[in-house]
Subunit: 367 residues, 2 copies
Amino acid sequence: MSVRQKSLAEGARPSIRDVAQRAGVSPGCVSNVINGRRKQDDAIGRAVLTAVDELGYRRNTMASNLRRSQSRIIGLVIPDFENPFFAELVAQLERCAEATSYRIVATSSREDPEIEAREIDELVGWRVAGILLAPSLRSHAMNGLASGDTPFVMLDRISESAGCDAVGVDNAEVCAEAMRRLIALGHKRILVAYLGDGIANVSERLDGVRQAVAASGSDIVVDYVPTGDPIEAAREALGRYFDATPDVDAVFCLFNTATLAAYGLMQERGLAPGERTALVGFDDSAWMAHVHPPVAAIVQPIREIADQAWARLLARVEGEDGPQSIERVPCRFEARSSLVGPAAKQQMKAPTVRVVSSEGQGVERST
Amino acid sequence: MSVRQKSLAEGARPSIRDVAQRAGVSPGCVSNVINGRRKQDDAIGRAVLTAVDELGYRRNTMASNLRRSQSRIIGLVIPDFENPFFAELVAQLERCAEATSYRIVATSSREDPEIEAREIDELVGWRVAGILLAPSLRSHAMNGLASGDTPFVMLDRISESAGCDAVGVDNAEVCAEAMRRLIALGHKRILVAYLGDGIANVSERLDGVRQAVAASGSDIVVDYVPTGDPIEAAREALGRYFDATPDVDAVFCLFNTATLAAYGLMQERGLAPGERTALVGFDDSAWMAHVHPPVAAIVQPIREIADQAWARLLARVEGEDGPQSIERVPCRFEARSSLVGPAAKQQMKAPTVRVVSSEGQGVERST
DNA sequence: TTCCTCCCAAAAAACGATTTACAGCATGAA
DNA sequence: TTCATGCTGTAAATCGTTTTTTGGGAGGAA
């Protein structure tokens, strides 16, 4: 009779009004029953619930969120799902979310700052309660343009200047420790493979390495080789290095792809890790613990990173208003059999640092 | 002056009305400008755009979707982000989504059918345009209770009885091929490590193996060992097997964790893969191609699976109404050096199948 | 000048839920 | 009996958009 007929076309989901009509009550009443603001144990409560059941009603989350203007969703932007580090991060954050009855929406930027910015924008459009960002390699997300007043926490590749809360690891400290151990074992010529220049995380790791070398004050030669990203590139760069430097003592890879590339190459070239030449990798992977000899690794406490980031973000979401907080979680050095001492060798140079660019030209530089 | 004052409290995001007010036009007009239903190049258009800019306005996606009742979101539920197979699947599906200007919301069920059902329910609540599900191990999601009329496509672990579109691989065929190759090389005693009983995918793989063995008609001994899931369990089960059967010729692992466990164990026990004993794994991983010798693997065409599933789902979303479609994408067998022939050996038994349960008791059974 | 289009922006309705205000009814106290 | 009180469910307002309807002004033809 009234204009408000509009009921339940085929193929459309039932609305709260359809349920109300069927149960013979008003929409508001249905809402109350569903959200438990009413004892459900009387005639009306049961009528509503059976109507819900019969119609297969599901509350429209978007309408609900719109009305109460809150969302219990956290947006997560990571560089790459295929990187095991981020995969574990996502998994752990999902657990955090479940425990606090939030929900995570995860997307990847594929290491592209453009996509990253777009994704953040999208998340803001969804009015997520907060955003977790593991920045892409050359991210410019911190230019604030995107986030506005949405709570924001940075992960992993953090930069103090971003002006938001951040949780990362103590890259420099643990890399220094790894270097000290290699030096203590007596290695004189050490290859340090890193990703490339100007990348926050890796710069910190390099700093740690340099610091340990400087502190050792001994006759160490460190060759810094930037390898680039896909594993084929790393293989090529490292291959050239091993061609030129067959007498290297130890290899320290500052990111996971390089570790695998180095492992394979060393096996091929009679530099088998763990016999005479040592191999240490930043980031642990399942294969490192299970091949023979197993590969010593710096283990990032991913769960802890996730937990801390989650706690920070939730505090912000709930209105906490303290100053910027930067957490640095310590890493663990997992010594495995690839960490061996060198054969006795004769070498007596002044401490020297050589930079081998990824094109292969060696640049000598003294510290 | 009117009741409709309500403007721009601190800490709240500006709405389209705030923009309208500032630009001196009506909200509807702002909407038109933003959505390009108006040439933006006149006074009004510019006024609106600058107002948008000054206020930092972002359209509220939930309100927008609610009104136009459509969402351009696809929900994706996978068992586990940390499984590289699913990680690559997510990554590729994200690319598909981007190419078709959809957006993916990915969540994991952590192999728990309960969580899986809950996640699907949630997605339906969000009125996603469609759902992609890679079912957990003992999923009961196909009981239809959840999906209703939301388009639905199953991935990877598919079951024909679910009554929805599905995209998987031809598990049986490629496993048969792998077995045929091992047999052709002259291996007489072959270990087949599988995950456990009653799991759709793995059952198909076992079927393929059995079929190839039966077809060979020769004097092959196949030992079927269920290993269970975490890698430690697999190591233990396989360790017991190798203790009892040091003369095994070849190892075929039907899922990725087992391959790594087997690789490590074989190296430890002087059964080094590629020397005398062959190793083949279902599912490729980066490490398999790069260790020495590299491990032969069955490569699932993950990108293709993703592309096909995406195409199916989009067709359904856009209203296609054909019968249930089940796609089986063929896998590729990547022969690497771990695939070798055996040393000459003396063995002359009738074809026999032995089942070693994960508890370690051997059960003899003839085919 | 009058009338008829055409066009564009303002106003209003709608999406599906929640929440507030209000009305009806019963109960209990004075 | 009357009035205050408490309870419960309906009606209506609202969230921030989009879309439809309406209205008013400009312009052209008669």
